[in-house]
Amino acid sequence: MSAKRGTHEQPYGGPLSDGLSSLVAAAHELKAPLALVRQLSLTLEAGELSPDEKQRMLRQISLTSERALRLTSDLTRSARLEDAMFALEPINPHQLCEDIVHELTPLFVAHGRNVRLMPRKHPLLLVANRDLLRRIIMNFSDNALHYANDDSVVEIQIRALNAGQIIRLGVRDYGPALSTDMWKTLQTKLVVAPQPVHARPQSSGLGLYIASQFADAMNGTIGVIRHHDGATFYVDLHASRQLSWL
């Protein structure tokens, strides 16, 4: 993989087998949405809010709960990966990403941001499990939503690499860059031992750990590219040869 000028690219180092770490990370990740839902609920209980404020807070509670539920659902799915059979099939990533953009747009708009799928001229097919791939992109998008600057657009990108043998689905956010020190720490961690990608300091890396497990189950890999104005989290999967038969 070639790194662009002004960017740094780091593939994910591998799955983490420490169940306790995952459990602690899950608890940590769920604290934030639960704490927010509790604060909003207590404020609603106290009353003295305008109808518009009430409506807005109820919407925030719904959307925050949905994000937390996505994480718990991913955790459950992740824990059952070894037992389950996952059908890999040719998938049109553009169509899948369009569906994801459609589903996530209300959440992004509620946060004053937007999400869009970058257009492509030529159709691509990749080999994946639809459900797992969808979860990975949703996960990256949730991550990007948190780190993107106000009023910015999160972009979902689809690219062909290695003469079309690999298809990369990336989620690009425009937000604060990682400091050089943090990036070095991340690289050291990835080289020394397999660990979740702590690409951003407040993240336990759980979401990325789960995404890496899902990618691994589809013979793919995840990684991150550091930009001067944000980051791209990506999954690389094998291209389907179906189109070449036509």
Binding site: K31, L34, R38, Q39
Partner: protein, 122 residues
Amino acid sequence: MKKYSVLIVEDDAWLAEQQVRVLTKAGYKATISPHPIAAIKAIDTIHPDAIVLDVLLTGSTAFALLHELQSYGDTGSIPVILCTNLAGELSLDDLAPYGVRRILDKTTMLPDDVVAAVRSVL
């Protein structure tokens, strides 16, 4: 009566909005910075009377900001209230030299606790 200014450094936009709501209702002028870099700029502009600071933030942690604040005489005296999910892992005694005057636990606090904390440090 002086209207005190409070800077909220919080990267969860909706939680920040919630804190602005309760502080504004209590008569404070509240401003949000989503990360430490924005906070440093905001501190220079609005000269807050108190800072409500999350610990795990985008770009760098609260501790980088605390160090920065302590580097200057004027900012070093601004009282800081940490508002975090990691309250159980932090000690007020350890953080007092960095200007931290209160620690609020996001998982157990009541909405008005942030008002009480701000009032207690001003």
